[in-house]
């Protein structure tokens, strides 16, 4: 996006604004972890007792989903005209 043509790029493509948005996210994440130690939350099951359990689980789940999905793509990904080949669908 850094093509030196600053008049022609939108705000969402501006690297400075992008960095600011990320900074806000980092700050929010930090605050939420701090809050976990201040607020008393109800605990129903043992795993929930882990400090910042939801934060860790959310991060791990997302990274896990994407990594597994990339493996899945290797297994099931085909070219876009896969079903058009070999004259199928003619029943």
């Amino acid at each position: 996006m850094q093509n030196g043509n600053n008049e022609n790029i939108g705000w969402a493509d501006n690297p400075v604004i992008r960095q600011r948005i990320r900074n806000v996210l980092y700050a929010v994440c930090g605050l939420l972890v701090v809050a976990d130690f201040i607020v008393h939350r109800h605990v129903y099951m043992p795993l929930e007792k882990i400090p910042a359990f939801y934060a860790l689980y959310g991060f791990a789940a997302l990274v896990g989903v994407v990594i597994l999905a990339k493996l899945l793509r290797k297994a099931v990904g085909r070219s876009e005209d896969y079903y058009e080949q070999r004259g199928e669908d003619n029943d």
């Binding site: 990320r22 109800h42 795993l47 959310g58 991060f59 997302l62 989903v65 070219s79």
Partner: protein, 563 residues
């Protein structure tokens, strides 16, 4: 006339729509859900309208709290969908859309299994036309495959209904519960339309093939009518917890790698249906409220997302992530509305899904289903990735493709705005929804624990996306087809069929050889004796016969004299 059947306004509007054009047709179409909705608001719970057909007494209209709730929902959904499709001049889509919405309403007010069957089949038939309305090769075949699933579901329902009628004589549609063979047939009939695993392909195959407006209709009615039927017929059926958890989890992976954004939403729909099915499976008042509440919210937020992608497709002619990007500057209103839908489906606090999803999750914890709860929490993070971030990001941000675009027509924007306002309103004033939920289960979603834990989950999941993106591990959008269970019947079954045909022809060939050989052997023998030159087939001259007779007579005389 408070007992006017709620299908009638849609039927009449559908007929009138054939003969009218322009603003008159628009007015008639919008009037159908408004008038019908007003009628349903006046209806008293406990009302039953019977119809005698031969010696069958059908309950064509039954009003109770559960059917009323879905009645309200479908009228609201129909209004939004019709508004969204108002700019079209396509009579086929308008008529099919009206009858389809009406069939869904008829199905939820059906008080017996045969009436349910009639509307169940109408749902399938009318909705298939919304796919065929794309009028291209792909939609023709996808529509046929879609329709086959609908017919299969209908046949199972009819089979189950007849079986129950035959054994018990009672056809009323109430709690069925798994037990007899008949109940399994009906369970599978509902299951197909709920998008059970391996029976789900009509959703992911059919929906993206429909028109930009048709998909919005499709996503609102069939599956929600099925959730209604499941909630009424099979509440607390334990197997549904496991089926639902699987439904919530596996589509996530497909959604992450899918390139067609409307197909991503179709996978996302199965994922959301998973939450509802789990709620029905738990069967407690809180869980059932959560399930039907989530069905209501889903019509709004999934409708909103399908509408925003429909608007993008309508304006740009594209729906694939690899072809889209950078539209936020040309379509800021659509972008904003899409982001509201994305935040709702991700269940951010103050958005409607937070309320209904929390109910299902809390019910899981209360009943001690910890493993399932972990799986559903995993699924929640997955929803954020594919529906919360991927949809708006790849359509409106990502790499600017320099596509010439503008905002869609006003009616589309209005329909999206209504859905968006309701997503926020229900999320911010949950009492709006709670007061009409059918079961009695007090619940407060906005306590500190729920809000904090949900925000932690979501914020760190977003952090996960940023991490993957920054480190270059985030999968690119590439034009591709990902094989799913439809491969079984689009590739494997045809291949098996072709294989069997080959085997049969080879066996036939070999069998033929063997038969020919054996036959040839006998024919050979036969012809040796009876053939043209065979000893038994020779023509004998009369003289030689006389000679032989004389020889025999001579021998006879000799023997006589010897005696």
């Amino acid at each position: 006339m408070t007992n006017l059947h709620p299908f009638l306004p849609f039927l009449i509007a559908g007929i009138l729509a054939v003969f009218t054009r322009g603003w008159l047709r628009s007015a008639i179409m919008l009037a159908a859900p408004l008038f019908g909705g007003y009628q349903v608001m006046q209806a008293e719970p406990g009302t039953m309208v019977m119809l005698q057909v031969l010696d069958l007494e059908l309950t064509v209209y039954r009003v109770d709290e559960l059917s009323l709730l879905f009645g309200y929902l479908f009228h609201l959904g129909a209004f939004i969908c019709i508004l969204f499709a108002l700019h079209l001049k396509d009579t086929l889509q308008h008529v099919a859309g009206l009858l389809y919405a009406g069939s869904a309403i008829g199905a939820v007010f059906a008080g017996d299994l045969f009436t349910l069957f009639v509307f169940w089949e109408l749902l399938g038939l009318t909705s298939a036309f919304l796919i065929w309305a794309s009028r291209d090769e792909r939609s023709f075949h996808a529509g046929l495959r879609y329709f086959l699933f609908q017919v299969l579901s209908g046949v199972l329902l009819l089979g189950g209904a007849l079986w129950i009628w035959w054994t018990t004589g009672d056809i009323s549609f109430n709690e069925i519960g798994l037990g007899s063979g008949a109940s399994w047939l009906i369970f599978m009939a509902f299951g197909i339309k709920c998008g059970f695993p391996l029976l789900h392909n009509w959703v992911t195959d059919g929906y993206p093939a429909s028109t930009p407006t048709g998909t919005v209709f499709l996503c609102a009615f069939t599956t929600k009518a099925a959730i209604y039927a499941m909630a009424r017929g099979f509440p607390g059926t334990e197997i549904l917890i496991y089926i639902g958890a699987f439904m919530a989890c596996y589509p996530i992976f497909f959604a992450v790698i899918e390139n067609d954004l409307r197909k991503v939403l179709a996978y996302s729909m199965i994922n959301q249906l998973g939450f509802m099915v789990v709620g029905i499976g738990i069967g407690s008042a809180l869980a059932l409220n959560g399930a039907v509440g989530h069905a209501i919210n889903d019509v709004l937020f999934k409708g909103l997302l399908f509408m925003s992608m429909g608007a993008v497709l309508y304006v740009t002619g594209r729906s694939k992530a690899s072809d889209l990007g950078g539209l936020y500057r040309a379509m800021p209103i659509t972008t904003t509305l899409c982001i509201i839908g994305a935040m709702t489906i991700s269940a951010f606090p103050l958005f409607s899904a937070f309320v209904s999803k929390s109910m299902v999750m809390s019910a899981l914890l209360e009943e001690g289903h910890w493993g399932i709860w972990m799986a559903m929490l995993f699924a929640s993070a997955g929803v954020l990735e594919h529906a919360g971030i991927k949809i708006p990001y790849f359509a409106f941000f990502a790499h600017d493709q320099g596509i010439k675009a503008k905002e869609p027509p006003v009616n589309m924007l209005l329909a999206m705005a209504i859905a968006a306002v309701l997503c926020v309103a229900i999320g911010s004033y949950p009492a709006m929804l709670y007061d009409i939920l059918p079961y009695d289960a007090p619940y407060s979603p906005y306590d500190m624990t729920h809000v904090l834990t949900q925000l932690q989950l979501l914020a760190f999941a977003i952090l996960g996306v940023v991490f993957l993106h920054r480190s270059g591990r985030y999968p690119d959008e590439i034009p591709s087809v990902n094989l799913d269970a439809e491969w079984l019947y689009r590739r494997m079954f045809p291949a098996i069929y072709r294989g069997i045909k080959v085997v049969i022809s080879v066996l036939g060939e070999m069998g033929g050889q063997a038969v020919r050989f054996t036959l040839g052997f006998f024919l050979d023998k036969l012809s040796r004796h009876h053939g043209p030159s065979g000893i038994l087939a020779r023509t004998w001259p009369i003289g030689s016969m006389v000679l032989w007779v004389m020889v025999l007579l001579f021998l006879y005389m000799i023997l006589y004299y010897v005696e």
